[in-house]
């Protein structure tokens, strides 16, 4: 009975933290971009404008829902759910902290679930996310939406390969698909995977920006060419669902970067840190990557579409292949090989 209660507690805490962070990210995005452009950003709702996401949410709920004529209503309604859901499902395996304690003989871990194939699950689930964009684009009965959806799918296909190959290099060095074990494998001086796999880290970072449809790769919603991209025809809470999906995917990607390359919840130079220290370390590292998402967006201009494909297929993909090949060679024949 009480074990279920603990699971429930952890589930609520994890989901609350990630979705709360996603909501705060919409606020942080506006605040940071404002600061970079000598402005203040939202500062009227609540202290420092902190209640702005709440006000935006209320606004979205009360807005009129428009379904364009000729649209396929069922797919039109399904698409936002398909965008938001995969990102939220991926939260289930992210290790927020290590062992919290033992309860009735069971170790309570700082993640909702701890499957042996954790990273595979994340990749499988986030890969579904693009269906929301392409279905939404197709069902809207609008040329701009369709083009946005097509671009999203083409971009996902080209970048997911390099992303998975980058992750594969990490999995190969760790020898496990379990996210907790990947974190545990990064202990010690310079044990973080970013030091042993710097190329994989760069590839993963670039591809994660393309995966989450963020600048400089946000072609699915490229305003000057496609009005709003795949969500042009969406309004009200359905549009908000796309928004939530995008920002949750960002938080998940930042969590994954931390977990795979920056030692996850490990505190540097403190091997037996208590679990709450791990939580703080994880939060701090993830916050940096979340800031980086915003920071890069307001620094770099958008790519051109052919440049995007060129970068994905002719630069990142060969690099990822070379990286996984060299990693395999080192593991098989290098120092420490049996």
């Amino acid at each position: 009975m009480s074990m279920i209660l603990i699971w429930l507690l952890i589930t609520v805490a994890c989901y609350g933290a990630v979705i709360g962070t996603a909501a705060l990210m919409t606020f942080a995005e506006r605040k940071v971009s404002a600061a970079m452009q000598y402005r203040y950003g939202p500062n009227r709702v609540g202290p420092f404008g902190l209640l702005q996401p709440l006000a935006d949410g209320v606004k979205f709920i009360f807005k009129e829902e428009v379904i364009p004529a000729g649209a396929n209503p069922w797919i039109f309604k399904l698409a936002p759910i398909l965008t938001a859901l995969p990102a939220m499902l991926a939260i289930a395996v992210i290790p927020f902290t290590g062992v919290i304690g033992t309860f009735e003989g069971t170790e309570v871990l700082g993640s909702i679930a701890n499957p042996e194939i954790g990273i595979l699950y994340v990749l499988a689930v986030t890969g579904v996310g693009v269906y929301g964009a392409i279905l939404g684009g197709w069902a809207s009965n609008s040329k701009y939406s369709l083009l946005g959806g097509l671009r999203a799918s083409a971009q996902m296909v080209s970048y997911e390969l390099s992303l998975i190959l980058a992750v594969l290099a990490v999995v190969a060095t760790t020898g496990s698909l379990n996210l907790h074990e990947i974190v545990a494998g990064q202990s010690g001086w310079f044990g973080w995977n970013v030091f042993s796999q710097p190329l994989a880290f760069v590839l993963f970072l670039v591809c994660s920006y393309a995966e989450t449809n963020r600048h400089p790769f946000d072609f699915a919603e490229c305003e000057p060419e496609l009005v709003g991209g795949f969500h042009t025809e969406y309004s009200s809470m359905k549009f908000a669902m796309f928004f939530i999906g995008e920002y949750t995917a960002m938080v998940v990607m930042a969590c994954l970067t931390t977990t795979l390359f920056f030692g996850g919840y490990l505190v540097p130079f403190w091997a037996d840190a208590p679990w709450w220290m791990g939580l703080i370390a994880f939060g701090a590292k993830t916050s940096f990557f979340l800031l980086l998402f915003i920071w890069v967006r307001w620094t770099l201009p958008r790519f051109r579409y052919d440049q995007l494909m060129h970068l994905g297929w002719k630069v990142l993909f060969p690099l990822a292949l070379i990286n996984i090949f060299v990693t395999g060679l080192v593991i098989s024949f290098g120092p420490g090989a049996n």
């Binding site: 000598y38 402005r39 203040y40 620094t299 770099l300």
Partner: protein, 172 residues
């Protein structure tokens, strides 16, 4: 024919990362730079005596209004925003306004009433904010227009200076 010669990029330039890092450094440094935005209701717009805001009626220190309801401003007003009814008084100036309405929605802040006034009674104040919930509330009556001379002193001095310019520079 225009031939554009593009510089051949070196390897370091072609991998973009040094340039991206440079860009990130610039945006981060701007984050802590002073901000330009005026927080409007808390930080009001700067005004000075040249500001031509809404017209107001000058009231002498002894609480008598300067206006004699001659109607010159009413006639000068290009937007027909001013309506005046006057009546006689026991005072030396003999007349004063009974009703003096300015429809602020019609007023175009041109300052003709100020120029037309022979008794230095109406001045363009530095009050610029105008908002209410109904059109009727924005037709200001005499009580809303009255301002003590001290509040308008800067403008009065300025207008006097401008008008005196013709006297001093004239050679005839």
């Amino acid at each position: 024919m225009v031939v554009v010669e593009r510089k051949e990029l070196s390897f370091l330039e072609r991998i973009y990362f040094p340039a991206i890092l440079k860009g990130l450094k610039i945006t981060m440094s701007k984050m802590f730079a002073p901000r330009f935005t005026r927080q409007y209701p808390e930080e009001p717009l700067p005004t000075n005596e040249v500001t031509r805001g809404q017209p107001r009626l000058a009231v002498n220190p002894d609480d008598t209004i300067r206006c004699v309801s001659c109607g010159l401003c009413e006639a000068a007003c290009p937007a027909y925003a001013i309506t005046i009814d006057g009546h006689e008084t026991e005072r030396f100036i003999e007349r004063e306004p009974e009703r003096f309405d300015i429809d602020m929605l019609r007023c175009i802040l041109c300052g003709f009433c100020e120029e037309a006034c022979p008794k230095d009674a109406i001045y363009m104040s530095n009050e610029l904010e105008l908002a209410d919930f109904s059109r009727a509330a924005l037709v200001y009556d005499i009580e809303k227009l009255k301002r003590p001379v001290s509040a308008l002193q800067d403008r009065i001095d300025y207008v006097k200076k401008i008008n005196d310019r013709w006297q001093t520079s004239s050679s005839t």
